[in-house]
């Protein structure tokens, strides 16, 4: 058993760290304030290869592994949770299922512009009345000649505002529940795709969270992903992998907040000494760090299991749950260590606290993760 990153992973980690330090960290506050990741940053992330890390080189990806992807999302999220989720949703929820379930033609057509970042991807499953109960979606598809026609509504779609490429789920008959669901690749520039709104949110404000309506949108039959009726399986499999991305995002947010809290505790003086001399603060730092390290081990383990093509459903559920709960805990304590300053928007821990909360909710709420874990334990 070896708990150290390989030299190749260390090279990647330090390259991404340098990139984040210079290109993302200085504008992280602005991204939050303006509810917008600048297009120039998206382009730079594309050039750097951050948007196609684990996809094969033949489809324009970097050809690295899942652990590299986890490191990328973690390092980016240390500075900016919004940019972290852009990468995560794009890579593991859009490029991921196209690579895993797509035909050779589909992969050649859709993956290169996604991997280069010229087009941003999203995953369209959630609906106003179908969140955790994903089998209950009511967006429909019907066949018409060489097209499928999609009607319905989707919401809370991360990256939706880019109107790029999506993997969309629709049902042929709602009564069939999850057995009626199919997955399609959709060009969101298609006629009949309407953005209803980009939501205003508590955190990850730079990331788009979009509500869509689909009004008789025609999709060529060539865009069916997998087989008809296989959609629910594709969605669940995709979310399994996606959880490693969200765990990495949460881990990064926690590490970012911890670094600030640790530094602040050494600088801030009260009662004539730095507050890190107080056991009350020392115990907080110990609890925070232990939760971060636990989450990191589980996240890296889930990524390594996926790389080794072993079963990782249990670990991906656990890492998502552990890391997101570490993120909300660590960011909350980071504010406490900062005292009144932590509550002020000029201090980054305030943003990190807001960014952390969503990681307990999306890509399967932590309650759903507990269902997944316990089901596997009892099956």
């Amino acid at each position: 058993m070896n708990f150290e990153l390989s030299q190749d992973h260390k090279v990647l980690q330090s390259a991404v760290r340098d990139f984040v330090e210079k290109e993302i960290k200085p504008i992280a506050m602005k991204i939050d304030e303006e509810h917008m990741i600048p297009d120039t940053l998206v382009a730079k992330m594309g050039e750097m290869g951050l948007l196609g890390s684990y996809l094969p080189e033949e489809y324009g990806g970097a050809g690295l592994d899942m652990l590299s992807y986890a490191i990328v999302v973690e390092e980016v999220s240390k500075a900016c949770g919004s940019s972290g989720v852009l990468i995560s949703a794009h890579t593991s929820l859009c490029s991921g299922p196209i690579y895993t379930f797509g035909t050779e033609e589909q992969k050649k057509k859709w993956l290169p512009p996604l991997n280069s970042g010229d087009i941003i991807g999203c995953f369209l499953l959630t609906e106003p009345d179908a969140g955790s109960d994903a089998g209950a979606i009511s967006t429909t598809y019907t066949r018409d000649g060489d097209d499928y026609i999609i009607n319905g509504a989707k919401m809370f779609i991360t990256n939706g505002g880019y109107k790029g490429t999506g993997v969309i789920f629709a049902t042929s008959d709602k009564n069939l529940k999850h057995k009626g669901v199919s997955a399609f690749i959709i060009d969101l520039q298609s006629h009949g795709v309407v953005i209803l709104k980009n939501e205003k949110k508590m955190g990850i404000r730079g990331s788009y969270t979009t509500a869509f309506a689909f009004d008789n949108v025609r999709i060529p039959v060539a865009n069916l992903l997998g087989q008809e009726g296989q959609g629910f399986k594709i969605a669940m499999d995709t979310l399994n992998g996606g959880r490693i991305g969200i765990a990495s995002q949460a881990l990064g947010i926690a590490e970012g907040a911890f670094a600030l809290a640790l530094a602040y505790s050494k600088e801030r003086k009260q009662f004539g000494a730095p507050i890190c001399d107080l056991q009350a603060i020392q115990f907080k730092l110990a609890d925070m760090y232990a939760k971060i390290e636990t989450s990191k081990l589980m996240t890296y383990k889930a990524a390594c299991l996926k790389d080794a093509k072993k079963s990782y459903t249990m670990e991906s559920a656990m890492c998502k749950m552990l890391a997101s709960e570490a993120a909300t805990f660590v960011t909350k304590e980071a504010i406490q260590i900062h005292g009144g300053y932590g509550f002020i928007c000029d201090y980054e821990v305030e943003r990190m606290y807001r960014d952390a909360k969503i990681t307990e909710i999306y890509e399967g709420t932590n309650e759903v993760q507990r269902v997944v874990i316990s089901k596997l334990l009892l099956s």
Partner: protein, 258 residues
Amino acid sequence: MKLLVCIKQVPDMESRFKPDAAGVWFAETDLAFRMNEYDEYAVEQAVQLREKLGDGCELTVLSIGPDRVVEAIKKALAMGCDNAAHIQDPAASGKDPWQIASIIAAYAKDKGFDLIFTGMQSQDRGSAQVGVTVAELLGIASTSTIVGFDYDNGTITAKRELEGGIKGVVKMKTPALVTCQLGLNIPRYPTLPNIMKAKKKEIAAIPVADLLNADSLATTTSFHPPAKKGGGIVLEGDVADQVDKLIAILKDKTAVLR
């Protein structure tokens, strides 16, 4: 055309340094290492020239040290070097600039490099001797502390930094060596696809014993980390008093006021 760039892996200079057991250098435990900053400019300049000259050109990166230096080598490969030489030496940090330069010269002497790039100095030892000594040992031209670089048909035009903000321009014919100053260019980030491609590039591992033929001329005998900073001086009294005290301190301890 054959190019060589020599790099060193150094500790993150923000680390807290402690003496090693013998007290002659810093202990490596708990230190994070990275490519010497000056060498990043050297690599970038070499890669830019390699790209300009195209397929007829070969760029080798060399580093001396224990296994950990392969990390810095891999970064240089991901930035665009073609292949690498890792001179394996677990005891590199104990060698003086003369020995390090001798090792590099022994490696380079029969390889026919037209141009060698090094950093101006290392961030940890800071001798600024290795690059120019390599040139001397190889009997080739060199110039140091360059902040501008151009190459055309066998001639190098280098802008050098002199003291006090003055710059000079030097022209040399190849074969030659240049040592690179901070700010020479903007070192690129190794992109993810290039990190992947670097995995397939050749890293020749050469035991240092095959190249080492010089005794040290200088020995580092002890190592002293900076003393822990005191609490600072808090000036008290009315403003006029504080100003007088401040002026006295500035005159006494600094060159700000004379």
